[in-house]
Symmetry: C3
Subunit: 209 residues, 3 copies
């Protein structure tokens, strides 16, 4: 063969797999934090920062490769958007963990546990959709994963409304209310961003339909 | 005729008309809520949820049609962006109504009434701009509608600043302040998203200029 | 020469230079405000509004020119996105100044001063990246400026976490806490938007690589 446009040792899909792996790991770590009684362990906080850093590196790797590649599996702009949005998932989970630390939130809150379960499910579906992009033969299962991400976002919306309603009904200390309101809202935002990734994936499918 | 690229019974513009109709209906319902004394009626809350669901269906209809169509009236990405942003208007109005319910906000607040009037005007202008896209002959009136949306967003900004200033000046109960601050800010966000739709419309005009 | 695609007296890059000049001026004015003891001077508040208005005019000038031009130095969509994001920087600084006014925040707060120093540095880097787009020969220095914007956003994130931690640790009055929490978070948001501009610039580089 005469021309070789993609270096043998390189594949965009491998890089995206690495990046969504980091998102899945971040979601798992968050779930562990919410389920562990007591204050956030400093070692776990370091761990989430390492995951966030690895996620950044995966994203930069994708961008660097994009600069060097003549051919890309889908539009350059979409590769850019997709890696940015997945990075946003990891950043928002990292931000939520930072707030848990800053506000000295203790693990074991049942409603936060329910949120992080939804987040883990949604990030799994995002990962499944992104991994599926290797082949348009997967378009049906990719679309189903995107629909699941949308469904989980709706479940998260309803949960946030219920939880905030109870919070405002029962809270007596405004500063405690401010903390928990933000924790629950940040958790719901992760589900919103998962939905944004699903939108980018759907848009890629649309172009290759 | 040999080729037929668009099915006879289908037209993207009809679908967009349906979607902006739902946005207009959501804005009208919100106005009714703000003007009705007492707590939010459960039937009206159900109504806004139905509108939101219909809006989702319109948006999914557009996306599905996009998957099946060889020819589109403007770039596939712009159709995707436009339907997503109109959906955001409806979602944000729906979110505001949810907060009114969660926070047990009573109708009749003069400042909220002023906000929902701005929202209704802005959504009307958005609807007019989107409906105009059927023909680039309307480009002047589309552009004027977009300018009006921008103007209303500026009016909303000034109103929010005034209202928040008064709230912080006079509030004694922090939890009440938190509620109203968020209600007013959410109302202003609807105007921001209308402006985002106007930006997408302007961007479509730019490409077809 | 027979064809002339760009009018002699017009250049997109000159317009972008004007727009980023307004962003730099907004950041400088904000720095002055944070460093001046006492309540915000009405004349300085007017000044930031004039800068915001000039920024809007620069942005509208770019959009108008886009409508008239057959040839553009980079993709029409990117010109649209770039001018919108730079406008967002100015709008967010303007919004922060409005909050300083509404909340009757006095100048001299050491932590706000640190934030506005980061903002000034970041806006300078954004301006340098945007100005560099005149020639792809500058791609290395543009990329470096974008990396610096990303770095400053990380510094801002850490500063926000530290400052909020102290605020929640020491605050006794919830309404004062609400005000300062929002001021610091808005300041950090300016750095986020600078990063968004850097992303658009990087995306333009990607396409012209």
């Amino acid at each position: 063969m005469f021309f070789k446009f993609l270096p043998e040792d390189f594949n965009f899909f491998d890089l995206f797999d690495k990046q969504v792996d980091r998102a899945v790991e971040a979601a798992k770590t968050l779930k562990g934090i919410a389920n562990t009684p007591g204050l956030l362990d400093e070692a776990v906080f370091k761990k989430i920062q390492i995951i966030e850093h690895q996620g950044d590196e995966a994203s930069h790797g994708i961008m660097e490769q994009l600069n060097k590649s003549f051919i890309t599996p889908f539009d350059r702009e979409d590769i850019h958007a997709l890696t940015k949005e997945i990075d946003d998932i990891i950043d928002t989970i990292d931000g939520l963990v930072s707030r848990i630390k800053i506000y000295k939130i203790k693990g074991g809150d049942k409603q936060l546990i329910r949120f992080v379960e939804l987040i883990e499910e949604s990030v799994w579906s995002v990962a499944s959709a992104v991994r599926g992009l290797r082949s348009m033969k997967n378009s049906k299962s990719i679309r189903e994963a995107c629909i699941e991400v949308n469904r989980l976002e709706n479940v998260g919306d309803a949960l946030r409304d219920k939880v905030l309603g109870e919070l405002f009904e029962t809270a007596t200390d405004p500063i405690t209310l401010i903390k928990w309101k933000e924790i629950y809202e940040d958790a719901e935002t992760v589900l919103d961003i998962c939905e944004d990734v699903a939108h980018v994936v759907e848009s890629i499918l649309v172009k290759h339909a």
